[in-house]
């Protein structure tokens, strides 16, 4: 699906925990998600840290949209958000 969006000229930041699968299907801007059932966050963190992690993931995705890429590229959010 992300490839069809990209074929139409829309840059796509794909957030997925299964980033090797995303790389294999040749998605171009891949953002490493936390885990399959909760890609944008971590329920084992206290709520404020979970929200901060989510923000970090979303910001990484936005940065990916602004980035020039030549092929499948992995963007890794900074997962250590405490402190």
């Amino acid at each position: 699906m992300s490839k069809e969006l990209e074929k139409a000229g829309l840059p796509v930041a794909l957030v997925s925990a299964m980033y090797p699968v995303a790389e294999q299907v040749r998605a171009n801007r891949i953002v490493k998600g936390v885990s399959i059932p909760h890609p944008c966050g971590d329920p084992s963190l206290p709520p404020e840290l979970d929200a901060r992690l989510r923000r970090e993931i979303v910001q990484t995705a936005l940065k990916a949209l602004e980035a020039e890429v030549k092929g499948p590229t992995l963007f890794t959010p900074n997962m250590t958000v405490s402190g």
């Binding site: 925990a17 299964m18 980033y19 090797p20 699968v21 294999q24 936390v34």
Partner: protein, 434 residues
Amino acid sequence: MRLELADFPVKEIRLGRTFRYQDGLLEVDGPALEEMILRDGRIAEASLAVVRPGDKVRITGIRDLVEPRVKVSGNGQVFPGILGPVEAVGDGRTHRLSGMTVVATAAYEGTVRAGLGVQRSALLDMCGPGAAASKFGALAHLVLIMKLRDGLSELDAHTAIQAAEFQVARRAAETTLGVEPSGVEVYDLSVRRPELPNVVLIQGCLTDDHHVHSGVSYYGLPIRESLSTVVHPNELLDCAMAVNATRGIGYFPITWDWQNHPLVLGLYRDHGRRLNFLGMILQRIRYETFHGKEVIAQNAAQLAVTLGADGALVTWLGSGNAFVDVMLTVRACERRGIDTVLVTYEYGGKDGVDSPLLFYVPEADAVVSTGSRDRWLELPEIERLVGPYERVQILSYPGAPVAEAKGRLTLDARDMVIGGVDNWGKESWLCNAY
């Protein structure tokens, strides 16, 4: 460990007033079995029915199928950890009633709305295209029809259904005590020939950690997020593996499949002749992070190396991202010098033009296809229903519409039929490229 499996083939099942096995006829005391099942207060209603191949019947509400077995000598008893204490099994002599199954059907609503722990039930036609599509269309069945008490949790429903079907199965098998079997097979891996290649079976299985009743159990203990382990194949023959009894669906092997594991039986048949069968690595897959998947793949490969494997048959069960774990396992084995053959079903969609698999690694250069799981299947109108449901939800999602179970049904995948997907290569299905 030396197990003798004594075969008592069943050609006909009769509901009567006594328990008896003679010359291929199994007679069971219906009222006695019903009374036994209803001792569990979680089961509100219970009845029995018999179906045979060719009957113009559709069975609904199918949750599990199990082959009647009982141990007559050796340590422990069948269904260890479930019907009785946890005792090591796989030795001595076990009787089996071949040619038939006990089918557990139950009306149960469930409390989980979506995701992996949700209850599902399957269908089985005994005639027509539905029977041809299932490995169970050609067997005789003793069908338990149950209605569970309202408001049961999935864990309660699972334990109630499973206990009922296993008790009936064992009671039926007990009719063979003192009777001469039609044949005895010996299962013994202790002697190896050093000039033959060593082969291990790597069996991926999954459990949804978040739901205790889910997935596959070993001696009654659901296999949770854990590292791979080694299981002796005789334990499978003595019914040490069981599954979630609230969830009957074609692409998920059921208890009968574990008792009659085709890859185990095939490797056993060739043991000492063309290969040395080292045993089975049970590998819990479907890790939820890529890191977890890589570790479990490496772990299974390491176990195979430790056992001295030259080659491995790799197979799995489940759907979706669990397949990534499987492919990484193939890759890990190949990188450690273990030749692998992957046995798997394919996808491909309605017309077979979609990608057959979900994920690929170049190292998986030897794959055996057991056919597609998602070609459509048209089932005709049927004369008679057996089971708890008159109407069925063909698709399980919150708010799904119901269809008349007797009517024509268009199934958007073969996995709605129990036995409709050949998970482990028992049958001769495959997909040919055109």
